[in-house]
Amino acid sequence: MAIPPVVALEIGTSKVVALVGEMREDGHIVITGMGEHESTGVRKGEIVDLQNAALCVRSALGAAEETGKVTINQVHVAVSGGHIQALINSGEVPVIDPAGRISRDDVDAVMNVAEALNLPPDREMIHTLCQHFRVDNQEGVIDPEGLVGAKLALNMLLVHGVRARLHNVINVVKSVPLEVSDAAFGGWCSALAVLTPNQKRDGAIVVDLGGGTTDYVAYSDNVVAAAGVLGVGGDHVTNDIGLAFKIPTAQAERLKRESGSAVFDPATGSKQVVIPAEGGFQGRTVHLKALHTVVNARVDEILVMIRKRLDKESVLHHIGAGVVLTGGGARLHGVVRLAEKIFDLPCSVGKPINVSGLAVVTEGPEYATCSGLVQYGFQESDDGEAGSSILNKFLGFFKG
């Protein structure tokens, strides 16, 4: 087999997922193996307990090895967390050729300038994603090689995070022990998994509603226009429910999944749900309306914050194809309707459409990140999409 399989690992806040992907000869990616384990040791997308996290990883990988019939030695990992930020940096270089013909060297030079950003010492670059080139005054150039001009400029979206927290993820994998081939931002992976080429061209926002974080990526004109993370996710919804009605987390989580809604349903009326007694918890009833008030407030807040951020970065009016929701939170009742109202754009739940194989994966918005990471892994080996991970540099150091 020409291309070895890619193993993608996501150490999420609510679950650890490992997927094995193989590339067929026609370039199509098939998910052949899968392992999943409830996650402990992660809060808000960040590792808080290395040992517990490693246990969950081992268990998920074990299952993936079994179903995928492979031996896993190295993995790609997804990273997230509220510390991850993105910014646009631009670079400009004079064209070397006296006649002004732009060469590959010019392109490399401007990329080097655009990605040369002095981050604070505690931060590490995760991705440097090319946006558009500008040749003199001509904006929006996708491939400048061969064009003629005096100056070549480039905007790059730089995604970075706090080094120590990124390394926590890598250290967990290393303690398993396994090698990390590469790391990628989870939000971007989700976008890779669910967006069609048309959506990327016309402009789309992918909001990944995870357990601990909400990641977002906006594509427009085929490039990543904006990206970011809110350290708020489904756990917060559960926590709000628990606090509002004084019920334990496990019951609150179940209540959210079974009866929660991000919007008010007039049919709810004054209906109540019964939460049975369990363990030390005495049981109680909760008004659905009150439950939906609590859930609506939190989800509304998350989505409005993302809208505000994208609005600030002047991205919103470039979005023609709408909003795609992924992550476990996309399964929340009413969340599509709420997102439509908030963004004033068509909105849908995104499934990993760019891979095939295990139906549970291709049907589940919660597997978008990990499937996207498999795609990313193959792109990496193929050097397909511009914007390779800089993490490679320090990963190399760790492998050493």
Binding site: A244, F264, A297
Partner: protein, 382 residues
């Protein structure tokens, strides 16, 4: 007495009015809100839902523009409220969408209807975030030009008064203090004691600083009530440990007690106030007698700060980690040992549930680990 109405705007304002419902009789109590459910639970005598077709009765979600338009939609209804009203006391929590957006509209309507407008504007807690703060400041600037008398109450100062409690309890405590103050001003005007104080005095006392005052409230019971009242009043957080009194250009002092209120009590309070104030401070005083206040003394001071703008010191840039560290040490030790950073609300761990002990998610100064419904002050039927 007819001719006075007390209006609460938005969730915060309406809650203050609710508390007044049982406490004082006489004025008409009006609740104006976009949140239909909060409104239906309100104890106000008149309830006006605004923006029904803009918000589906769900509140503005913090959008000031929706708050403003919602009130404007109901302009004629709101104006009619004030047709026979001499004094409109308007209570609003600034920062949220309804309070910030519609308070200026309501105050303007009252003024145009010929009422004297006294507006109590509560500023959001610092933990509610910079967005809220900005919206509040913006609304405050508008109210400054509209209300005859504007009394500003920064909630952060109140929160220290109600002590180290959970967020929900703090909001409750703050509402209680505010309700006492509003009720007190109402009584002061309607139930004069030895020295009557009318609205003209209040206006005059505040005129010099553009009609903006800071509210201080203190109370005490029992034989030691004068000392207790003065203590809580003059050195409390509401007056920033006395700084507000010391800097005030004019002070309006209203003293309320039961039939047992003695002239000596009044004199003692005034002596203590005068000792704190600047020599050239213009002090206006009034008393009210209320049978319900037997054995109890309560004092309201409205202080016109010399520079109302400068009193809000610019905040240092928010550095989440650092702030958290300070808060943590402050909380861990015994009360009083380390004062929490100014404006930081001492949050009980119960408010964060499973997120206690992890780095807080702070965005624009707002702690997102605290449930949204609490920060938005939504009514949740438990």
């Amino acid at each position: 007495m007819s001719g006075i109405c007390i209006v609460g705007i938005g969730n915060g304002g309406c809650k203050v009015v609710d508390r007044l419902a049982g406490a004082i009789g006489g004025p008409s109590l009006v609740a104006i809100n976009t949140d239909a459910r909060a409104l239906s639970a309100s104890r106000a005598t008149t309830k006006i839902q605004i923006g029904a077709n803009r918000t589906d009765g769900l509140g503005t979600g913090g959008d000031v523009d929706i708050g403003k338009r919602s009130a404007e939609d109901e302009g004629s209804v709101i104006k009619n409220l004030f047709s026979d009203v001499n004094l409109a006391m308007i209570v609003a929590c600034l920062g949220g969408g309804t309070g910030s957006g519609s308070a200026p509209v309501v105050v303007k309507a009252a003024r145009e209807a010929g009422a004297t407008t006294l507006c109590l504007a509560m500023l959001p807690f610092k933990f509610e975030g910079n967005d809220q703060r900005e919206q509040a400041d913006h609304a405050l600037a508008q109210l400054r030009g509209l209300a005859h008398v504007l009394i500003v109450v920064p909630n952060d100062r109140l929160s220290e008064l109600v002590g180290d409690r959970s967020v929900a309890e703090t909001f409750d405590g703050v509402n209680e203090v505010l309700a006492s103050a509003v009720g007190g001003i109402f009584k002061l005007i309607t139930q004069p004691g030895y020295l009557a104080l009318d609205l003209a005095n209040l206006e005059k006392a505040l005129q010099e600083t553009g009609g903006v005052g800071t509210l201080a409230y203190g109370e005490g019971t029992g034989p030691e009530r004068v000392r207790k009242t003065v203590e809580s009043l003059l050195v409390g957080p509401l007056v920033e440990g006395g700084r507000v009194i010391a800097d005030a250009r004019s002070l309006l002092v209203s003293i309320m007690g039961g039939p047992d209120l003695g002239l000596k009590d009044v004199g003692d309070v005034m002596k203590a106030v005068e000792a704190k104030a600047r020599q050239d401070c213009h002090i206006v005083m009034g008393t009210a007698i209320d049978d319900a206040l037997r054995d109890k003394l309560s004092v309201i001071i409205v202080a016109s700060e010399e520079k109302p703008e400068a009193s809000e010191e610019p905040e240092p840039p928010q550095i989440p980690e650092a702030t958290h560290a300070v808060e943590k040490t402050g909380r861990g030790k015994k009360k009083g040992q380390t004062r929490p950073e100014q404006g930081q609300l001492g949050l009980g761990p119960a408010d964060k549930g499973r997120f206690k002990g992890v780095d807080p998610t702070i965005l624009d100064g707002e702690d997102l680990d605290i449930p949204t419904y609490l920060r938005r002050r939504l009514n949740v039927e438990r």
